[in-house]
């Protein structure tokens, strides 16, 4: 099932420099939208202490975890040095104004 692409929502429903949480079989996934309307999807869990990344501040292609400020790269899921750690990425794309997600 998780092999399939699933429609999430229209792009407009994710705020620029923000995120929406998506609950599905793969657990909680954060779908981010950058200032330039790129979208990225990561597990909604910071590798540091498990904070919900969807609630963090988005800037460039990065998000700062709301709990302790660990910065995660949206395109790779990796923490920005000197922080360390990595969170799982999911595939996501925009098709005719709709955001599609392929978890796993």
């Amino acid at each position: 099932m998780s092999e399939d692409w699933t429609r999430v929502c229209p792009l407009d429903e994710i705020p620029r420099l923000g995120a929406r949480v998506v609950h599905g079989e793969a657990g909680a996934i954060a779908v981010f939208r950058t200032a330039t309307d790129e979208v990225f999807a990561l597990d909604d869990r910071c590798p540091h202490r498990g904070g919900p990344l969807s609630q963090g501040m988005v800037f460039d292609r990065r998000v700062a975890c709301p709990l302790h400020g660990t910065t995660i790269r949206l395109d790779t899921g990796e923490a920005v040095a000197p922080d360390t750690g990595c969170t799982r990425r999911h595939r996501v794309r925009i098709d005719r104004g709709e955001v599609w997600l392929r978890a796993g």
Partner: protein, 843 residues
């Protein structure tokens, strides 16, 4: 390929730091070539003394290894000296005849050690102390029982002497001036330092002139001869009498030089294609040899090389905080050493505290009610405080007792009250928030080559959370980095890494140019990053809202989750809900309603807070709008940079001691100031008599009722930094009290930097600078009116986000997770149910 070419002459700390700064802001702008006279990558020159003393190794002090240059595509010519600049053809010429063309040239040639031109100064066994090669030569020559003479009793000389002593040599220090470190210390401080060093086995020849160095039978140096003909036997002589800027290359190339290569505030030389940084530079008449000024220059030069064109170097206030062979020494400002200062002594005044047997000495020099100089030996824990008083030039009238005793004994929470870095063992937990020990900090400083408090914060997280251990971390940094450490001047510190402008400069730009959005500020001030960062965006949002409350709109994406959700995020991602209970006065009906909500939403924990209200902990984000609707109460802002609570005692209405109605005033103040946005959280207290049961002495604003009226205290703090509030004014009525409090808080809103509590703001600007504005009735009224204006446009954020109004809220989607599989979830605890969908997803 038309990528312009940048050539850097000088592969030391200033040149490489400039490159690092440049690569961070404009990584692909230049093709970069670096020439260094020494055959190494860039190393930490400051750490040569620990290498000499055998405390660390050469490998450990490399800052940029050869791989770093390769990774950034930089062509490095290590060990190749540039001997000429051909400015007409824009080429530099190396000592092997090879040439390199440039479009921009950066000179970072550093300094040369001064060798006394006495007979025999070129004998084998006579060394300077500047480079890895010098250090290695000293290590090779050192052997237990052999005799060494160090000429020069400044910092470098004393470090060399200590290092050689640590290698078992018999060491004498010859110093021409009448006391050691005569430019940093006064006579008494130097005497104390000398005694401490003598007790560690060093010998001193003070006030003696070196006439010649004499060779022995083997042709190597054998003795140092004084001008009175007496001799000191020595198998090794180290010259450490000072350095001078290395301007030879620049001079030969026709660049204007005085003592150093003359640069303007953009670090540009008289040739617009050529920049210069570091010890070789003379800026506004001053030359610098400490790390912090060099790094500041590097940042400015990189800004201009990177074609941003906005940074200015304005010179640095230097202080010296150093560890001379394990003895803490601090000196800053002017303490009456030169003739000019001596003439001014009439107007001067000194505070001297000395415990000679205990090895502790402190002298503070005052002029016109200001601190102008400070010298400390043995105990330097308060140096940051003195340096701040000195730099800010604030009035210290009435602070004589405090100056003598040192920084008020405010207990910074979280590190057992320890204030002296040197005495702390490696395993001691310095940062109680992030569990970072002294050993971890020291290791990171050495291994990662860290020089600033910000560096240490980023790499270790020490002092990165509450910041109460910042002073301690800075001391550790100073003791590890050693003689060249100088803290960054907070007055010129940029708001964040996205800009070179300070908080004050950005706020002025916002006011003067009517910038009404975060984006407008970033564009106008030429922010380096498109979206800013989590440090600057919340600050800019506050500054814009504060300056233009009616014209601007709040940017929820520039707020921390708590202020965007209007609830306090907990470690498990759930939220806490604290409704406003003004003055802590509630009713049975209100309590019943809170209890019902807690049961209805299965709230896992209910707690009475320290601010006399009730906290519902563990509420799910998507439940918040319905919880608020069911409560029917306003937000308590327990999550925000806002008015938190006004704590009250019961006061004259019930208490047999009460002389004023503290509860009524507290409730009125809390309602009047509700929804106020401030640089950091603000807590008030009102007590009905001087027994002060509301603990007004440790609040941002504390009010104490007396029989004839109210006393107002400001700038107290009971948290990170226990700080006793200072008396501001006494007034006769509750109305007057309210006006004074409003004016004070508006001034705090307008003057304090984002995330600066009232205590820290007042410590920075001084109560003396604030009081006249508040004493003046017109100014006070104008301030209070501006606050009223700002509050008038704020609406209760919970009312704005009830289920029926949520769709119109600027961040409605934050409360509505998207559910992909609306069938019954397997995990009933963490997974969504259909209720979440109706929480207001925009149609």
């Amino acid at each position: 390929m038309d990528q312009p070419r940048l050539v850097v002459v000088g592969n030391g700390m200033a040149g490489c730091r400039t490159l690092e700064e440049l690569l961070a802001i404009a990584p692909d702008l230049y093709r970069i070539t670096v020439f260094g006279a020494e055959p190494h990558g860039n190393y930490n020159r400051i750490q040569l003394s620990p290498v000499l003393a055998g405390e660390t190794t050469l490998d450990a002090i490399m800052l940029n290894d050869l791989g770093w240059y390769a990774r950034h595509g930089i062509e490095l010519h290590a060990g190749r000296r540039i001997v000429a600049i051909d400015r007409r053809r824009r080429r530099v010429v190396a000592d092997d005849g090879s040439e390199a063309p440039y479009d921009r040239l950066l000179l970072a040639t550093g300094a040369q050690p001064i060798l006394l031109p006495v007979p025999g100064h070129d004998l084998p066994g006579v060394l300077a102390y500047r480079t890895i090669a010098d250090t290695q030569a000293m290590i090779d020559a050192a052997a237990p029982g052999r005799r060494a003479v160090v000429v020069g009793g400044g910092l470098l000389g004393l470090e060399a002497a200590h290092g050689l002593r640590a290698r078992g040599m018999e060491v004498s220090v010859v110093h021409l001036a009448p006391w050691l470190m005569e430019r940093q210390l006064d006579r008494d401080a130097a005497a104390l330092l000398q005694r401490s060093l003598e007790s560690r086995g060093l010998r001193f020849e003070i006030g003696r002139r070196t006439a010649a160095l004499r060779a022995g039978a083997d042709g190597r140096v054998a003795a140092l001869q004084f001008d009175d003909g007496t001799e000191l036997a020595a198998e090794l002589v180290v010259m450490a009498v000072g350095i001078r800027p290395d301007t030879e290359l620049a001079r030969a190339g026709g660049l204007h030089c005085e003592r150093g290569i003359v640069v303007d505030d953009t670090m540009q030389t008289y040739d617009p294609r050529i920049y210069a940084v570091g010890e070789c530079v003379q800026h506004r008449g001053a030359t610098y040899g400490l790390v912090a000024p060099l790094f500041e220059q590097a940042r400015v030069a990189a800004n201009h090389l990177g074609e941003f064109g906005s940074a200015r170097y304005r010179g640095s206030t230097t202080s010296t905080k150093l560890k001379v062979t394990g003895i803490d020494v601090f000196s800053a400002g002017d303490f009456g050493l030169d003739a000019e200062a001596a003439e001014a002594t009439e107007a001067r005044d000194e505070i001297v505290v000395a415990d000679r047997a205990g090895g502790v000495y402190k002298k503070l020099v005052l002029q016109d009610d200001k601190l102008v100089g400070a010298v400390m030996v043995g105990e330097t824990a308060d140096s940051a405080w003195y340096l701040q008083l000195l730099r800010e030039g604030q009035s210290v009238a009435g602070m004589r007792d405090a100056l003598r005793r040192g920084q008020p004994p405010a207990a910074d929470a979280g590190h057992q009250g320890r204030r002296c870095a040197a005495a702390i063992p490696d395993g001691f937990e310095v940062c109680g928030c992030n569990g970072v020990t002294k050993g971890t900090i020291v290791r990171a400083i050495k291994e990662q080559g860290l020089f600033t408090l910000d560096d240490v914060r980023r790499h270790t997280k020490a002092s990165a959370s509450c910041g109460s251990c910042s002073g301690l971390v800075e001391q550790i940094l100073a003791s590890v980095v050693g003689g060249a450490y100088a803290p960054q001047d907070p007055a010129t510190k940029p708001l964040c890494g996205c800009t070179d402008y300070t908080h004050e400069e950005v706020r002025r730009a916002i006011r003067d140019n009517e910038l009404v959005s975060v984006g407008a500020v970033m564009r106008f001030c030429e922010w380096r990053s498109a979206d800013g960062c989590p440090t600057c965006r919340p600050a800019l949002n506050f500054y814009v809202r504060c300056a233009w409350p009616r014209e601007s709109r709040d940017d929820p994406r520039s707020r921390h989750v708590n202020e965007r959700m209007h609830a306090n995020i907990q470690k498990d991602g759930s939220f806490s809900v604290v409704p406003r209970i003004a003055g802590g006065v509630t009713s049975p009906a209100q309590l019943r309603r809170i209890a019902e909500v807690a049961e209805k939403y299965a709230v896992p924990a209910v707690k009475i807070t320290g601010g006399q209200r009730i906290d519902l902990l563990g509420v799910r984000g998507e439940d918040l709008p319905r919880v608020w609707a069911d409560l029917g109460m306003g937000s308590g802002f327990a999550y925000g940079k806002a008015l938190r609570t006004v704590k009250t005692c019961v006061g004259s209405e019930w208490c047999r001691f009460g002389v004023q109605d503290s509860t009524a005033l507290g409730v009125a103040l809390e309602n009047a100031l509700d929804r106020m946005a401030v640089p950091h959280k603000v807590k008030l207290a009102v007590s009905g008599c001087p027994r002060n049961c509301a603990e007004a002495g440790i609040k941002d604003v504390g009010i104490v009722g007396v029989d004839s009226g109210w006393e107002i205290y400001v700038g107290g703090n009971g948290g990170i930094k226990t700080e006793v509030a200072q008396f501001l004014v006494k007034v006769g009525s509750a109305e007057e009290a309210t006006e004074h409090v409003a004016a004070f808080l508006q001034l705090y809103r307008e003057q304090a930097r984002y995330l600066e509590r009232t205590a820290h703001w007042l410590a920075r600007v001084g109560l003396a600078s604030v009081k006249p504005l508040l004493d003046d009735a017109d100014q006070r009224r104008a301030l209070a009116a501006r606050l009223r204006d700002a509050l008038a446009v704020e609406v209760d954020p919970w009312l704005q986000r009830l289920p029926e109004t949520l769709a119109a809220a600027p961040n409605a989607g934050d409360y509505a997770p998207i559910v992909l599989h609306p069938r019954r979830p397997r995990d009933p605890e963490g997974a969504p149910d259909e209720r979440r969908l109706d929480a207001g997803l925009p149609a």
